[in-house]
Symmetry: C2
Subunit: 300 residues, 2 copies
């Protein structure tokens, strides 16, 4: 074998047929990354909207549009849909699922997804390896997909006791082929940590944006908004459907986070009311120190 | 006169001597922009820290370090210092202020600055034109200064009844020479709008960052933080000293904003508690719609 041949993708790709349910940013980027890594043979795309599927095909993200029935015969199926839609999709897949097919998802909550998968797949639940790629953008649709989206990003898997080790290893391998750093966690720890660092920021950014936009003097205020406002509210432009599902799905953890944050906000409000500059200064210093330390560690 | 000569800066700059008190991002960028526009003769820098002044000189932002006494004899003085320091600086300038010297500031609150200026300058308050450039960065110090910082950014002036029209026009002209879009407002409207679109986001970002960083499982959470967290918390890394002054200075407007936002947050929390998906979806849609509209208008 020459060097040139060695550098080419293996003749037999590790995933002969990949099915992606939802061909937007998340699903389309997964397909694009695996294709670039030479890991897939054929890519099937499943979705509600024929025009979106055709755009994904024209962009080379998928080879053909397919049904859930056809997806059930693929080697790997990624469900890239809002978490509220996953139980229905899994139930739709189940009658068509080959014994060798593995299914994974990209949902931002994992406890409720696990329960949904148990209801939908029953005895075949061992074929479902729950996952969550922590990567995204406020851009959506197949046009936003790119092969590099997952490079150096974290993907969390929350394997089920029923998952064979080999099944977890295959899903891990697919994400690693996309350039991601894969870690496993239990679903409750995942949901609590994500409520804190992802769902709560979205909650605050969206409700803050709503508050400002519906003031009587909104136009004058928004004209004076600068780059701080821009960055702070960027995530508020994200998909309402997706976030509605996430908040309801991770409700318990979210309500806990909201209460805990409120205690800090109220402590600061009391300090401001009584003009306690020392207490305020201490809180602002600890916040700035923590943010700068995080930034240094991540080089962002 | 040839075309070539016409394109050159005028031989006599409009500001023969500029003094900048505080030679970091804001003051350094003002000096750099006016120099680039050919509007200044000599630039004096005033500051507490000799090493910072020397760095500003080495970077070409200022020509020489100076005292407040020397600054009082300049043609234009920009006070680029935290709002809590402005009264002391104005009082320090007053005995040295030439009749032809104009003073302006870059403070983020304007009602309290006006009161401070009246106390410090008394009968000479007409020489002080309050201003607020809405531009910034989380980078600080002379190294962060750049001539383009104010290009296409808004600068608000909140003129005093005592300011001669010509004084306001000269300060406006200096900011316009920096490429900024200048508008005038009354100080109460400025403070209320800025509380909404700048001070409240900083309050939330900083206190949220503090909350996450001081959780018992902070390390695990922060490892899972992604790009949404990064943007949402970016402003929390800003100067604690500056923000401490802003919050105390704009306390009344801030406490009002905090109460009003709380009503929206609590409405959403009740919807989440009772699993009212329709109410949540409506709030998220209005927020995303408003954010996307703002983004389109601003092309950001």
């Amino acid at each position: 074998m020459t060097d040139r041949e060695a550098a080419r993708p293996a003749a037999a790709p590790s995933i002969p047929v990949l099915a992606v349910v939802g061909v937007g940013l998340i699903g389309g980027s997964f397909a694009a990354a695996l294709r670039q890594a030479g890991q897939v043979g054929k890519v099937l795309g499943v979705g509600r909207n024929a025009a979106t599927l055709e755009r994904a095909r024209a962009l080379g993200l998928i080879d053909a549009a397919a049904t859930l029935e056809e997806a059930g015969r693929a080697d790997l199926v990624l469900l890239a849909a809002p978490v509220g839609a996953l139980e229905g999709l899994l139930a739709g897949l189940r009658p068509h699922l080959r014994a060798g097919t593995l299914v994974t998802d990209a949902g931002s909550t994992k406890q409720e997804v696990e329960q949904a998968a148990r209801r939908a797949l029953a005895g075949q639940v061992g074929q479902f390896v729950p996952g969550h790629p922590i990567a995204g953008s406020d851009a959506t649709g197949p046009e936003a997909a790119c092969a590099g989206l997952y490079r150096d990003r974290t993907v969390v898997l929350t394997p089920l006791p029923e998952n064979p080790d080999a099944a977890v290893a295959r899903v891990r391998g697919a994400w690693e082929a996309c350039g991601a750093l894969v870690r496993t966690m239990d679903p409750a720890s995942h949901d609590s940590a994500l409520a804190a660092v992802s769902h709560l920021p979205h909650w605050l950014a969206a409700l803050y944006m709503l508050y400002v936009a519906e003031r009587s003097d909104a136009a004058r205020c928004l004209e004076l908004a600068g780059s701080g406002f821009r960055d702070f509210t960027r995530i508020a432009g994200g998909s309402p459907e997706m976030w509605h599902d996430i908040f309801l799905s991770n409700r318990t953890a979210m309500l806990h986070e909201i209460q805990a944050l409120k205690a800090v906000l109220e402590e600061a409000e009391r300090a401001l009311s009584r003009q306690d500059g020392q207490a305020l200064q201490s809180m602002l210093e600890r916040a700035a120190g923590a943010r700068r330390a995080w930034s240094r560690e991540r080089s962002e």
